[in-house]
């Protein structure tokens, strides 16, 4: 069986990628943000994953409103970065963990999930930025990827409970996979932010900091919150945090919070990360 070597939670704000593209890493605005991720990057380097499962949402780049998937899973050989309007970014394409992806799709359907199964598709900053934050900017990515898209744009979005259940199936798929790959799971999105409406610019530092600890020690609390609770506490776009639950549910009930970082604001967003390892 394959092995879950860790769970990562992280923001995926597009400005992070843009800052790297423009060489702003060490400016006053960005340095403290990026410095806080160094520990996470080190952890990944040591942990040597073979597969990265990345849970994220598309932001109106790959999917349009004509056909909105609640959950989509990639089974492609390659995922190219999508043009988000600023032209293509100079980051390498992602190689798909094709066989494991199909195995995961089989398990999902068997367990009564209804994914959109994607064989030819591009990925936006929701996946790019987390990969850059934890893997840097290599010539080629040192892992194969499994993208999982979660609709967080058009309501109804999936419930926190549903995201949690998907994480359970992800774990089952990993543990029933005959290969011996080392798998890291990235739950992405958030933290608190709101881009639309008169409450735009809403950031809730207190809730964000509680999240970074609580997602490790007390995930039940967040699993039991409603979608409305997420919007209220983390802002309309901060509700993206439900995607971390997929990662968290795939981990052990008890985990060690080995790294943690918070910084606000990154662009208009409370931003940060955790590195979790399974405890006994």
């Amino acid at each position: 069986m394959a092995k879950i070597i860790g769970g990562l939670g992280t923001s995926h704000v597009p400005s992070i990628g843009a800052a790297l593209d423009k060489g702003l890493r060490d400016t006053a605005d960005w340095k403290p943000f990026f410095d806080g991720y160094e520990a996470g990057k080190e952890w990944v380097k040591e942990a040597k994953p073979d597969i990265a499962v990345v849970v994220f949402n598309d932001h109106g780049n790959t999917f349009f409103l004509d056909r909105v998937p609640t959950f989509a899973v990639g089974v492609a050989d390659t995922y190219n970065p999508v043009d988000e309007g600023w032209g293509p970014r100079a980051i390498p394409p992602f190689e798909g963990a094709t066989d494991f992806s199909w195995h995961f799709v089989d398990k999902l359907v068997e367990r009564h999930f209804d994914p959109l199964v994607c064989r030819e598709i591009e990925v936006d900053h929701g996946m790019q930025v987390p990969m850059e934050l934890f893997f840097g900017r290599p010539e080629t990515w040192p892992v194969k990827v499994v993208p999982i898209w979660v609709n967080t744009i058009q309501y109804p979005i999936p419930t926190p409970q549903r995201c949690w259940e998907m994480g359970k199936v992800l774990r089952e798929a990993i543990e029933s996979w005959p290969g011996d790959e080392r798998v890291v799971i990235l739950g992405t999105g958030g933290l608190s932010h709101q881009l639309q409406g008169a409450r735009a610019g809403f950031i809730n530092q207190e809730a964000d900091r509680a999240w970074l600890d609580g997602i490790a020690s007390n995930p039940e609390h967040y699993r039991n919150m409603t979608r409305e609770d997420y919007v209220e506490q983390f802002g309309s776009e901060g509700a993206e945090l439900i995607m971390w639950l997929v990662m968290r549910a795939a981990m052990n009930e008890k985990v060690d919070l080995v790294h943690k970082h918070y910084y606000a604001p990154a662009s208009m967003t409370g931003a940060g990360m955790v590195v979790l390892e399974n405890a006994a």
Binding site: S15, A28, H59, G60, N61, F64, L65, D66, V82, D83, E84, G85, W86, G87, I153, Q154, Y155, P156, Q194, L195, Q196, G197, A198, R199, A200, G201, F202, I203, R227, E228, V231, E232, G235, S236, A264, P265, S267, M268
Partner: protein, 115 residues
């Protein structure tokens, strides 16, 4: 989920999605370089291709971000318009909040006023 249950926080549900469909489709297409060129060359002709109403065209052409969202525009799509000018997202946020850019950075995002 009921809309407007959280103050000043519109959720992009069926009503927004239906209302904003034309604007968002037009903006989505700006993900392609050829469409960005067409937009820059003759903005009104480009908007007409997507059959925007006079009200919608006015909102886009005057870069009235607040109005675009009111008409159902979703920020993730209309951000592609901001990539053309280009406009920082915090200015779009300030327009939603009805604040000056500086006040928005300071009061909402907690940035220092001159930093």
């Amino acid at each position: 989920m009921a809309n407007q249950s959280i103050p000043d926080t519109p959720l992009f549900d069926r009503s927004g999605s239906i209302r904003g469909y034309r604007i968002n489709k037009m903006a989505m297409a700006l993900g392609q370089a050829a469409n960005r060129e067409a937009f820059k060359e003759n903005e009104e002709a480009y908007l007409d291709r997507f059959r925007l109403t006079a009200e919608e065209k006015k909102a886009v052409m005057s870069r009235d971000w607040h109005e675009m969202v009111r008409l159902g525009g979703n920020l993730f799509f209309i951000l592609k318009i901001s990539a053309i000018d280009p406009t920082p997202i915090t200015k779009i946020g300030a327009a939603q909040a009805g604040m000056s850019h500086e006040d928005f950075l300071y009061e909402r995002l907690g940035k220092r006023a001159n930093g």
